[in-house]
Subunit: 339 residues, 4 copies
Amino acid sequence: MPAHTLRMGLIGAGRIGRMHAEHLTAFISSVDLLMVADVYEQAARECAQRYAIPAYTRNYHDVLEHPDIQAVVISSSTDTHARIIAEAAHHGKHIFCEKPIALDLSSIDEALRAVERAGVKLHVGFNRRFDASYRRVQKALQTSEIGQPLVIHIVSRDPAPPPLEYLRVSGGIFLDMTIHDFDMARFLIGSEVEEVSAIANAIDQPGIASVGDVANAIVTLQFVNGVIGTISNSRAASYGYDQRVEVLGSAGSIAIGNNYPNSAVISDAHSVRRDLPLHFFLERYAESFISEMAAFVDVVRSNAPVPVTGSDGRISVAMALAAQKSLIERRPVRLDEIE
Amino acid sequence: MPAHTLRMGLIGAGRIGRMHAEHLTAFISSVDLLMVADVYEQAARECAQRYAIPAYTRNYHDVLEHPDIQAVVISSSTDTHARIIAEAAHHGKHIFCEKPIALDLSSIDEALRAVERAGVKLHVGFNRRFDASYRRVQKALQTSEIGQPLVIHIVSRDPAPPPLEYLRVSGGIFLDMTIHDFDMARFLIGSEVEEVSAIANAIDQPGIASVGDVANAIVTLQFVNGVIGTISNSRAASYGYDQRVEVLGSAGSIAIGNNYPNSAVISDAHSVRRDLPLHFFLERYAESFISEMAAFVDVVRSNAPVPVTGSDGRISVAMALAAQKSLIERRPVRLDEIE
Amino acid sequence: MPAHTLRMGLIGAGRIGRMHAEHLTAFISSVDLLMVADVYEQAARECAQRYAIPAYTRNYHDVLEHPDIQAVVISSSTDTHARIIAEAAHHGKHIFCEKPIALDLSSIDEALRAVERAGVKLHVGFNRRFDASYRRVQKALQTSEIGQPLVIHIVSRDPAPPPLEYLRVSGGIFLDMTIHDFDMARFLIGSEVEEVSAIANAIDQPGIASVGDVANAIVTLQFVNGVIGTISNSRAASYGYDQRVEVLGSAGSIAIGNNYPNSAVISDAHSVRRDLPLHFFLERYAESFISEMAAFVDVVRSNAPVPVTGSDGRISVAMALAAQKSLIERRPVRLDEIE
Amino acid sequence: MPAHTLRMGLIGAGRIGRMHAEHLTAFISSVDLLMVADVYEQAARECAQRYAIPAYTRNYHDVLEHPDIQAVVISSSTDTHARIIAEAAHHGKHIFCEKPIALDLSSIDEALRAVERAGVKLHVGFNRRFDASYRRVQKALQTSEIGQPLVIHIVSRDPAPPPLEYLRVSGGIFLDMTIHDFDMARFLIGSEVEEVSAIANAIDQPGIASVGDVANAIVTLQFVNGVIGTISNSRAASYGYDQRVEVLGSAGSIAIGNNYPNSAVISDAHSVRRDLPLHFFLERYAESFISEMAAFVDVVRSNAPVPVTGSDGRISVAMALAAQKSLIERRPVRLDEIE
């Protein structure tokens, strides 16, 4: 084990947690994943076996108290994020935490204070910032390739809604799904949003309506620097995962499309067609998840600034809460109304 | 001259009027264009000469009083539309009128009452409804090719702003430009809009700001049938005329892109690129203008219903006025507030 | 009738002849189409009625002997082209003739000698040279946008084979179909071909094989200037009319694709698709046929050089004969072997 | 080390060898890479350090004689392939060997006889067969998605020529570059080629001409089953690595395009463009190299048949030799002329 190897622990061995385990053990060099924790012992054990992690536990405190572990990945359920962040910070561990930090701002603030007091690094998992296509948009904006940004349109649609039992505790579409797009909007435009407005429907998804959520939503964004924009979400795009952005600037526009499993175009007597885009986030964003974790590992080992901070995690939640309020009150809501 | 030839007159020989003259004389069979009127005698005379129209006049009443003329095309300045419609109706002429009918609802209502009293046909010039790509979208929606519509996004950008002297009297971006998109939204979704909301900026166009207008605008639409949508306008898309629409339905989506002057793709050491899209509406929508006029001629000769009615013309203006009010008052505005 | 109006006659009122009649009467200004001839009187009469041509005849000599007719369009069957060209030249008429001039070089030479003796203009109907996309390729080559040309690939496929009775007298795929591509290759590269080689099959079209022709063919081209290339033909591309070209140059490449009836892209649970390309040459090349005829009319009225000469018509036939010989003898054939 | 781990050795630590080392140590589970050999000790040592390979050597016999090593990857220079294959077979090692096995058929035959005698498995490195897009084409052909195959066109161009010193010993474009395309043609069509014909130039590359090779080549293919096709190669496509294939079938066509680093489209006042395709084979085919090696590992561990056999390696060389002969003798050459 080279001296510069980073010793890490994983908390949460669900779908995302197992993905991180795979990335940390297979694709990211100089990392030693020492322990995995999950409240379901079987999940922890299977994850440990599959990825050759030396130890597993049902109790995440075992990870936090492990003397050799320098950094932890938190991919447990959302309601535990803030508490574990605070405890991990207390134990001096650097922290990678999946989004959102919490569904309310006071829990987030408490966690961020603990991080600040401990002087550890906290990276919030907005993986899309590390995707090659979104990065290309950001580069175009940073280098004024399309001039001054004027308008941004984000489209972000899932192929199918999650189970209703998940939706009931998800916090609603804005906290669960749009949160990624709120972060992307700020990341690309490089300015804060001062006001949001939301409209929505669930006309094709009575089940979603029955749990008080919406299936299709549009959020408009007024940025501090004058840029205006929209986010268009849907829980059920029958053709698959639809992830796009378009920015109009004073000297041009840049737009990204979906990623496909192959480049084949088939022409027959009926149509000219291609196969559906990559179906879900694990395939679509596989490379960005690896790049994101590699960036976190680099940041912990170096003195580089954290690319996605606790503050980034907090603001996206505030935007989601403002969008919720706008939808309920049928009016634009300023972010400074949310505290 | 065959018995079924339609004898027509043209009022207004500006850019659009000359285009109609060309279409009526070259591309639409069984029409006899007998007279052209324009307040600028030279414009009327040159148009007559160029398109072999037997008579011209400075006084549009000559057209309205011409005993052989059965139908008129009104492409004079917007402020004259409503008055000429009423007078033409009084003379028993069928009417094709460019949009908008007027910038206020009471003038429109007066004109529509005159049309109704006279029992003549009035067709309002929303040419985009006759474009092959927009028609393809409508067909997909009418045949449930993408299921039930849920969300619509319209993008409509001009390559460069009109002169400031034009903008001063244009009625503002919503009445001058978005009006086409308001009509398109209704045409495609087949439902009325009950509430609109607008945000806008002019950060790249201080000249436009100086005359009290905006350069980039986003209007959100809440339809009666539950569909939600956006319209994204810009006065200055440096890459040319950008005209697109995308509809998400419960069984899929349909999206149209821009039209190009050729299909060539050039790859060199710098990029893989194509030439800019067709630059402005006269090129982009050339075929739709012809189809639109042919449809009007058919309607006058047959007993077919008018495809774009005076009511259509009125509603799009009401939507524009609602969007204006929303932008000023920074709140969603219901259409029933506009009367 | 302005003094500069060109008075024309039409010989042959089949599918192509009727198309020319429509273009000459509707889309090309300052032309007076005085008479149409067809061996089938009914075809001539119906064409005259439909396009308001004042006279029709079964005997094309009536057109050639008409004292007011200055130029003729020959769109009769191929076997009559060379003879009518010679006779029209003898009567001092300028000539637009559909391709090919004849299926053998000696008939062509005789016709071209008559044209030369009479000093009239002869334009051969290779319409694709006037298509916007092919012109864009030519412009790229003429302006060295992709450097020095090195390799050319032409794809040219029909949606469905013609009737067997037509194929029996067509002269074979190279004279009937590839001839357009031979002309395009010379037009774009700007150099003559010195050697061709052909392979072919009819494995999907036993009917075509039964009349001694092939359904799919590849011709390789060796140009005098060193460029190499291929032509890929098929009689039956189930997805429609497939017309493409790609040129690799020392500084890049240029490629053109098919033309579509609309720009719509439909995404559903099965595929991301668009409608089939424009189905056949009358739709795909409609604009090029008009531009071509307009160019001919201009050439007759001005002193401009003919854009597609009799020599161009002759060389493409020589290339077709060389390809035939190559296919039969299974070896490369030099053009100077064909005389 | 689980019982089913495959213990392997690597011979050749050049560019491709290091890539295999990375794949075997990072991406392919249950492989233990025990030793790396390279005639340049430094290359062997650095490769061992970088990928944590326990041992390295200048003498590849150390790998072949290592008692624990079950399979070897041969990525040394082409002239050593056949000899090392024979020796590895003699030592009972399973073999993955980069293409081509040798530049002459007798050396290949000797190597293949040794493999047969030893009963070991030999997999030849035609990685493109494992690429998602080419596989999609194969699937379409195997499932008759486009009917019966009729015509195939392969385009394969490198971004820039290799150094002249490499070209001098490469065996020429057909053995060095087209060999991949010969294999792809057979793989996709599922039939052998009976005759090839070649034309070529080097008009833009006097350096390549000076060493007796060509820069741009077209090979036509006559398959036993009647299919016809072309391969278009270039050593210097200024826009990057161009890798495409198109197959016309009796019920449609399938075509694949290039892979891009991102999906961004930038529109400005000059063009609508995207970034260049992935620049070279290591990026373009990264995933296929991993899939290919994973397939080899699976084959060794299971009783599955080898997906790319020594016979496949032999036939592609015979096709290259036939193309060379065709280019020199300016005539089609049957494969049965090559022995």
